[in-house]
Subunit: 207 residues, 2 copies
């Protein structure tokens, strides 16, 4: 689904590999990261509609042609942005500081995982929802598999009795952007309340 | 979303009303039920692809024109079929025998609700998934609101501490046809294992 994007040195042995792409050269990887950081900032500051190829080029201080050569079109940029954010979340829960990263109690790590994902939905929910509603991509993103494994492991560590794989899928469904945006936008439920409900759900399951 | 379908006498004061349609005459309602029962049997016996306007007419012993006048086209028939099944499930959990219906322990009723919905996904999952992946219909079906209210009430009756509305949404997400079909078809997980995981999830949350 994201060909050519799973070649980052740091996580190459942790993330599923897609195809047999050649590793990018270091300057190309840095260049991509620069553009995606600019795009992520634009989404956070001005919403997803503000992310045009022009705006990203301007923000990153490069020519528009560079953005087009890298991502092809706006849809390609959006997919790359989504992948970039997922990988940053993965970095945070695998190697970052507690409570999201290693070292904290598994219940606290599960709680922090949900809050981190909700924060991501808050700024990039539209991009995430578009990906979820493409049937062939909803469950196939490699990032999803890494998150599911992470949640299942934490359930195991927390001593939860049951089918950790399916329980992880149920918990993940709770955090889907499509559902969360329905809750916040259609029903007007504040994100803080959804965070609280996640905390309660984790507590109920792990007590 | 399902104009003209929420006029059944039995549930008219329980289900949300759509628009201000005139109630169907008794014979028209019986006629519709006859056609939808035929369609439901076809799905259960031969799969969703077997449900053509012709096959439904043949099975119900009516002319093809009757099916077209009633449902317009195959998509209309599918939506009506989905609505029909949802209403039968509602009848069962609101008025049917325990453990799905009233009279049983709320934990047993919650468990039975999930199993009944999984059984529905098993035979009509494709139709349900198609509806879920139409963004404007995924959360707007009146049947969804009734199910959410039912689950939230059972959580309350079971003495679960927390945000019952959001917890009901999380539990419902676990039973979405799109997720369940991914689990059974893409991952090859047997339905019996998904049923067991639902039983465990309910037990974890309500203990």
């Amino acid at each position: 689904m994201f060909p050519g994007l799973y070649d980052d040195r740091v996580t190459s042995d942790l993330l599923p590999q897609i195809g047999a792409e050649q590793p990018e050269r270091g300057d190309a990887a840095r260049n991509r990261r620069l553009l995606l950081d600019a795009a992520a900032l634009l989404v956070a500051e001005r919403g997803v509609d503000a992310v045009t190829m022009d705006a990203v080029a301007c923000r990153a201080g490069v020519g528009k042609g560079t953005v087009f050569r890298r991502f092809g079109n706006r849809a390609g940029l959006m997919l790359a942005l989504l992948d970039h954010s997922e990988r940053e979340l993965q970095q945070a829960f695998m190697f970052g500081p507690p409570p999201l990263g290693p070292g904290a109690d598994p219940v606290d790590r599960l709680t922090a995982y949900g809050h981190a994902r909700l924060a991501l939905v808050e700024v990039q929910g539209d991009v995430m929802r578009a990906a979820e509603n493409t049937p062939e991509s909803r469950f196939s993103a490699p990032a999803r598999a890494v998150s599911l494994t992470h949640i299942a492991r934490l359930l195991h560590e927390a001593g939860v009795d049951g089918d950790h794989q399916l329980l992880a899928m149920s918990l993940t469904a709770t955090l889907d952007a499509t559902l969360v945006l329905h809750e916040t936008r259609d029903l007007g439920i504040p994100v803080a309340r959804i965070e609280q409900a996640w905390t309660e759900l984790v507590r109920l399951i792990t007590r």
